[in-house]
Amino acid sequence: MHETSVAQRMVDTAIEVADQNGGGRVVGMSLLLGEMTCVEPDTLRFAFGVVSRGTRVEGCPLEIVRVPTRLRCRACGAERGGDLLELCACGMPGGEVLAGRELRLATIDIDEEAARPAGDQG
């Protein structure tokens, strides 16, 4: 269940970036999640809801953008989608992973007008 560690880092990063931009509540977040990355979206959403509770990220809608796998064939250099066990047109499996391993916080939205709740450390 490493989704909890991932969610905690998302909340921490969002608060840090919000603070660098004048503070306020975090009211939106967009995450790039590669199809090969071993993070389960529903589990992540659940963990995100739990760890954001009581912070300025609480209630923030989480957009998860899945990034499809892109492979480059080691034999012929052709690029393709699919997974590692699917064969390239030239008959070769596997390949160099060009995309699909993302676990990246793309953007956050901050509400500049909402006052920071008293005593909120998060």
């Binding site: 560690s5 931009n21 090969m36 066990l85 596997g94 916080l105 793309a106 956050i108 939205d109 007008e113």
Partner: protein
């Protein structure tokens, strides 16, 4: 009014930075570090007991072992005279790089030749957390089924070597060695394969030789 701010930051960036710091340190200190991964019950601890027994006198060796709870693995390996630190992850399914830094301090890693990290038994999560090791090694036992490399490709993709364990049991199972290796090599064409029965003590010399060769190669680099 809300405004959108571009973050563009890897969520596990802190772990990657800690792992890079570990890697620089291990290279500077001249200790070869291997991250041994598998599902639970594949035989990692049994292999490390034999490894400690065989190499513990010849080289300066230590083990970091990760489990959700108990110090049973550290107790088992430590009995063979090799310094061992247990990391209890408290429910987490993997070890993180900052935990390795702390354990390496405890073990005085700079005075070692070989440091083996026994990761938490899990086929999914450890793949996402770089620890700063030189090599990842995957262990798969015959009783787990030959379909595992294809079903959990990431950890096999990132490993330098694959240990096939419990080969003594293979005749009693439907484990298809060729099928397992075909998938593993499709995912990772350069993966080196070592077959053994850690419990019976068969095939262990190839593993010891592999470790000694990797220690030597890392020193030359």
């Amino acid at each position: 009014m809300s405004k959108e701010i571009e973050v563009a930051r890897d969520v596990l960036q802190d772990n990657s930075q800690n792992a890079e710091a570990n890697r620089r340190r291990f290279c500077r200190e001249g200790v070869y570090v291997v991250n041994l991964m598998s599902g639970p019950g594949a035989g990692k601890t049994t292999l490390l007991e034999s490894t400690a027994e065989a190499l513990g006198q010849r080289l300066r060796m230590a083990v970091i072992t990760g489990d959700i709870a108990t110090t049973r693995d550290a107790d088992r390996i430590g009995r063979h005279g090799v310094p061992t630190v247990q990391i209890n992850t408290g429910g987490a399914c993997h070890i993180e790089a900052h935990q390795i830094a702390r354990a390496a301090d405890d073990l005085k890693a700079g005075k070692l030749d070989l440091l083996i990290i026994e990761n938490v038994g899990n086929l999914v999560c450890p793949a996402e957390f770089d620890l700063g090791e030189h090599d990842k090694v995957m262990m798969l036992s015959c009783t787990e089924g030959h379909d595992k490399p294809g079903k959990y490709p990431l950890m096999f993709k990132e490993s330098r070597a694959l240990i096939l364990n419990k080969m003594d049991l293979q005749p009693h199972t439907n484990f298809d060695v060729q099928a397992a290796l075909a998938d593993a090599r499709a995912i990772n064409p350069t993966i080196e394969v070592i077959k053994m029965s850690a419990w019976k003590g068969e095939g262990l010399q190839a593993w010891f030789d592999w470790l000694l060769a990797r220690i030597a190669a890392t020193r030359r680099a």
